[in-house]
Amino acid sequence: MGLDRRGFVKFVVGGVAGTLFTPVIWKGMDDAAKWSQNWGWIPRLPKGERKAVPALSKLCKSGCAVKVQTVGGAPFAALGNPDNPMSKGGVCPICAGSVQLMYSPARVAGPLKKVGEGKYSPIKWEEAEAMLVEKLTPLKGQDGKIAAISGDETGTANEVLSALLAGLGNASGYCAMPGEMLTATRGVKLMGGAGQPGFDIEGADFVLMIGADALDSWGASVANQKAFAASHPTGEAATARFVYAGPALNNTSGVCDQFVAVPPTATGVFALALANALISVGATCSAPDFADYKALAAKCTPEVFEKATGLKAEVLKDLAGKIKAAKAPLVIPGASFGQGSGALDFVAGASLNVLLGRVGQKGGMTLLPAAPKALSAAADRAEAKDAGSFMAQVATGKAAPAALIVYEANPAYALPQAGDMTKALGNIAFKVAFATYMDETASLADLVLPAPHPYERFDDAMNPYGVAKPTYLAGKPVLAKPVVDAKDPVDVLLAAAGKLGLSLGFETYADVIKAKAKAVGADMDTLTGGAAWTGEPKGGSLSLGAAALAKAPAPKADDKAVALAPLSKLACGTTELACPPADLLTIRDTELKGKDLFVQMNAATAKKLGVAEGNKIKLTGGSGEVKALVHVNEGVAAGTVAMLMGFGHSAWDQYTKGKGDNIFKILTVSDEAGTGMKVWAGSTVTVAKI
C-alpha cells in the first residue's frame, strides 16, 4: 500500500492522538518542570556535618570575634561569638560577609612578579622568597633604605616587622597607616600621660561623641554597640544618654538622643566652647593647668562657637547642663572617618574628661598600660612613624628608601592626597606587598605575596583602639589550607630574616602569638578557642593639655571653600578593604548610583554653592579633584559637604572597581601647630558645577 500525502497526514494525526494516550507528554512536562527547578548551571548546596568554629576576623579595623559556620568543613557564614566580650554575639557588617571574601575575585591567587606596567606573571613561592631576600640583602645595615608600612593596628605581626627592620639596621623605616590610635597616643603625651586611651562606654551614663563614629566605624565598634545596647534595654527606660557631635547624621547619630551638627573645621572650637560652658556652670578640676585652660576656654565664647559651627549657643548651654547633671559622663573625641585629626583636636575633646574628673573612673576615660612584647627588639606601637608623613618625605626626596614592605596596607589608595602618594611610591625601586587582595598598592608593587584570609591564618589583636581595658584576642585558621596559594606574611618574613642572617627567635607567626599570649599572661588555646583576655587599665592622671592647646591656630575663615567631611561607614569597607560583595546591598541609592558617588550637603549649603539635587559637581582640594552628584541632606552641618570614603577604587574587582570616587584625593595635608603632626581632617574644598 503506497502512502500518499493524505495518508501520511492521517498517520501523523493518528500518532499525535495516540501520544496523548501515553505518558510522553505528561511525563515530559513534569520532567521539564523538574529540570527547571534544578538547572545544572545553578550552584548546588553543600552537605555534611555543621560546626561553629571560633575565629578572629581582622577584616574590620578592630577585629571581630566570630564563630565561623562550616558545613562538611567548608566555611559559609560568620556569626558573632556570644562568649567573647568583644562580640557578645554581635558581628559587624564586614565580618558578617567575611567568608564570601575568601572567594573574592580580587584575591591574589599566588605570588606575582611585576613584568611591566600593570603586568604581572605568576611565580613560585621559592622564587618569590628568594627575590625578597635578594633585594633586601644589599640594603642591610643602610639606615633609611628599607621601610615598611603596616595597615594592621593590633597584630603582633607589627613587632616582627619592627624587629626585622631594626635587625637590618633600618629601625626608622617602620611606619603605620594613620588611624585614631596614633593620634590619640600623641594626644595623651601632650596631656602629660602615656599610653593608649580607652573609653568605658559600658560604664557611662552620658556619652558625648565628638566626631567619633563610635557606634559604627570607630574603635571596637561591635563592643561599643553592645555597650550601647546594654544601656538601652528594649522596652525599658534607657540608662544612658548618647549624643553625637559631628559633621553629619550618620549611623551613630541614628540612635543618639541628640545630634549636634558640628562642621569638621570646628571640632576643636566646639570642645573648648563646651568646656567654657561647663566651667561657667561650675565645672572645675584639680589639674595643674586649670587656670590656663580656663582662660583658653574663655576665648571660645558663645559668639565664637556660633560663628564656627553655625549653631545657636543654646545648644551648648543645654548640652553643658545635661553633662553636668550626669553621674558618669564620657567624652569620646575622634574624627568622623577615624583618622586625620590632629593631636590637638584629641586633646580638646579629651580634656573635657579631665575637666569632669572622669579619667580613670568607671565609665570614664582610661589609660592602657603598654602591652608586653613578644619580640624585645620591636619598637613600641606608638613609636611607629606615620605613613602619611613618611610618604610625603619620599615624595619630596627627604626620604629615599630603596625597598618598601607593605603589610596589609593600601597606602596608594588610603593616604591623603592619594594622587601624590601613588607618584611617591614610584620613587621606591622595590616594593613588596603582602596582600590578600589585589588592591591599588599591590597593583603598583614589584612583588605581590598573597596573604591568607583571616580564616586561613593565625593572627591576634592587642588592644583594639577604644577598649577601656587591656584586651587581647587571638585566632587560628578555620581551614587547614588556604583556598589560594597563600602563605602567612609573618612566616615569610621570619624565613627571610633567617636568610638575611638575622634570628628573631621564631619560625612561624603561630609561635610569635604563643609567645605574645604567654607574655600577656593568657593561654593560647583558650584564646584561639574564642575567649578574650582582659586586664586592668593603669592608673595615672592627665593634665588639661592647656599648653598644647594654646598653640592651636584660630580657625581661618574662607568664604570660597566649604569644609569637607569624609564619612566612614563600616559596610562600605575600610581603608584596607573595598566593600565586600555581601555588603554591596547596604549602600544606599542616595550614596552611590551606578558609578556616581553622591556628595551630601544641606539645602542652605547647596544654595550657597548654587547647586541642586542631582547636579554633577567637581570638588577640588589637596592635589586632586573628585566628581560626584549632589544629594541634599539636611543632616549635614552648616557650610560642609560630606562624602563617604571607601569608593573610587582603581583596582579590586567588578564589584568595586571604578565605582564612585576616592575622597582621599582631595584631602589636604597640613602641619599641626606645635605637634609636628600631619592633619587632614577639616580639609576644605572648592565646588564647581560641571
Partner: protein, 409 residues
C-alpha cells in the same frame, strides 16, 4: 494566483500587493519574534519591569485586548441567545477578533511569567482562592470555545467546503453554535470579572482595593460592564478599518450603529456605576487607610488628568455620544465615540495595572515610575502584527462578511 481560494464571488487585491502587505506585517512579526526569543533565552530581565513594577505593559495589554475582544462573546450572546439576527452581519468578524485577542493574550502571558516551562502549574496546582486561577482557567477554556467558533468559518473556505465531510462538520457546528455562544458568554463574564477581581482583592493596594458582593469585589462587575461596553464597538472599528484598507464595503452602517447602540448602552451603565464607585472609593474607603485622594496621584506621569481622561473624556463623553441616536447615526461621530471608548477602557486597565503599584504606601517610600522598554513594545507589536496577519488571511480567503457581495455589486 491564489484566486481559486477566494470566497465565492468576491474580488481581492492582486497577490503581489497582498504579498507586499504581508511583508510589511512580517517585519513587525520578526522583530517581535526576535524579542520573544531574547526574553525566553535571557528571562524578563531584558524588559523594563522591576522590583516595584512587576506588572507593566504586558499585563495592561493582556487586560486591554481581552476587554476589546469582548465583542466576540457579547455579540455571540446577542446573536445566538437573544436572536438579534442583524448581528449575523458582523458576528464572524467579532469571533475572529475575539480569537486573536485571546490567543494573543495567552502568548503574552507565557512571556510574562518568569518560568514559562511551569505554565501548566496553573491547571495542575490551582489555588482556588486566586482570581488569577479563575482567569487562567476561563481564558483557556474560552480560547478553546473561540477556536470552536472560528473553525466553522475556516471550514467554509471555498475549497474546503467542497469536501462533503467538512461541509457536514461545518454545518453541524453551526447548528450548535448557540451552545458554544452560551458557554462562551458564561466563561467570558467570569474571567472579565476575575480580571477586575484581580485588582479589587488587593487589600494592600488602596488604589485598587474594593469592597464587594460575596467573594467578588466591585471591580469584578465593573470590568464585565466595561468590557461589553467597548468590545462591540471595537469590532465595528476593526470592520471600518478593514473597509478603509480594502476600499470595499463590508458591513452596513445599520449593523454598525446597532453595535454602537449596544456598546453605548453598556458603557452608560458602566460609567454610571464607575462614577459611584470612584466617589465611594475616594470618599469612604481611602480615608480608612489614612490616605487622601491627592496622594493617589503624582506629577504628570501619574497625574489626575489620567483619571479624568479615563472616566469623563473617554467614558462619559462616548457613552453619551453612543446612546444619542442623532450622534450615533453620524459615522464620523460614531467612530470618534468608539475610539474614545476603547481608549478609555485601555486607560482604565493601565491605571489599575500600573498606577496601583506605583503609589508608595510606606510613608517613607518614594514614587517610582515605569516605562516599558523595547522588548515589551516589540512583543506587543508582535501581537498586533499577529492580529493583522490572521485578519488579513481570514479576509482574503474566508467568507467573513455575509453582506460583502451584495454591497459591492
Amino acid at each position: 494566483m491564489d484566486r481559486a481560494l477566494f470566497p465565492e464571488g468576491l474580488e481581492r487585491c492582486s497577490f503581489g500587493k497582498f504579498a507586499l502587505w504581508l511583508l510589511f506585517i512580517t517585519v513587525f512579526l520578526l522583530y517581535g519574534l526576535y524579542a520573544m526569543i531574547v526574553i525566553f533565552a535571557k528571562g524578563i530581565v531584558v524588559t523594563g519591569l522591576d522590583n516595584y513594577f512587576g506588572f507593566g505593559l504586558w499585563i495592561t495589554v493582556d487586560l486591554a485586548i481581552i476587554a476589546l475582544g469582548a465583542g466576540a462573546f457579547f455579540t455571540g450572546f446577542l446573536r445566538y441567545l437573544l436572536k438579534i439576527d442583524q448581528l449575523a452581519n458582523i458576528i464572524n468578524l467579532a469571533v475572529i477578533v475575539g480569537f486573536i485577542c485571546y490567543s494573543g493574550a495567552m502568548l503574552v502571558l507565557c512571556m510574562d511569567i518568569g518560568q514559562p516551562i511551569r505554565c501548566w502549574f496553573g491547571y495542575w496546582h490551582p489555588n482556588v482562592h486566586s482570581m488569577l486561577t479563575e482567569v487562567i482557567f476561563c481564558i483557556t477554556c474560552y480560547c478553546i470555545v473561540l477556536v470552536i467558533e472560528y473553525v466553522p468559518i475556516i471550514l467554509e473556505q471555498k475549497q474546503l467546503y467542497r469536501i462533503p465531510f467538512i461541509h457536514h462538520l461545518a454545518h453541524n457546528m453551526h447548528l450548535n453554535m448557540a451552545l458554544f455562544a452560551g458557554i462562551g458568554a458564561f466563561l467570558s463574564t467570569f474571567h472579565q470579572g476575575s480580571l477586575g477581581g484581580m485588582y479589587g482583592v488587593l487589600a494592600g493596594r488602596p488604589y485598587a482595593f474594593r469592597e464587594g458582593f460575596f467573594i467578588w469585589p466591585w471591580t469584578f462587575f465593573l470590568f464585565v460592564l466595561s468590557a461589553v461596553g467597548c468590545g462591540p464597538i471595537f469590532t465595528v472599528l476593526i470592520a471600518t478599518l478593514m473597509e478603509k484598507l480594502t476600499g470595499r464595503k463590508l458591513v452596513d452602517y445599520k449593523t454598525k450603529a446597532l453595535m454602537g447602540k449596544i456598546a453605548g448602552t453598556m458603557l452608560t451603565v458602566y460609567i454610571f456605576f464607575k462614577l459611584i464607585d470612584t466617589w465611594a472609593w475616594a470618599h469612604d474607603y481611602l480615608p480608612t487607610t489614612g490616605l487622601t485622594f491627592d496622594q493617589m496621584f503624582y506629577g504628570v506621569i501619574y497625574g489626575k488628568w489620567l483619571m479624568f481622561t479615563e472616566i469623563i473624556l473617554c467614558g462619559l463623553v462616548p457613552a453619551i455620544m453612543l446612546i444619542t441616536p442623532s450622534i450615533r447615526n453620524n459615522p464620523k461621530m460614531l467612530y470618534t465615540a468608539g475610539i474614545l471608548d476603547c481608549i478609555g477602557i485601555c486607560l482604565n486597565r493601565y491605571l489599575f495595572t500600573v498606577q496601583t503599584i506605583a503609589i508608595p504606601l510606606l510613608p517613607f517610600d518614594k514614587w517610582q515610575t515605569y516605562a516599558p522598554n523595547w522588548a515589551e513594545w516589540a512583543t506587543t507589536g508582535l501581537i498586533v502584527a499577529y492580529g493583522f496577519l490572521v485578519l488579513s488571511l481570514s479576509y482574503r480567503y474566508l467568507p467573513i462578511f455575509p453582506q460583502e457581495r451584495a454591497m459591492n455589486k
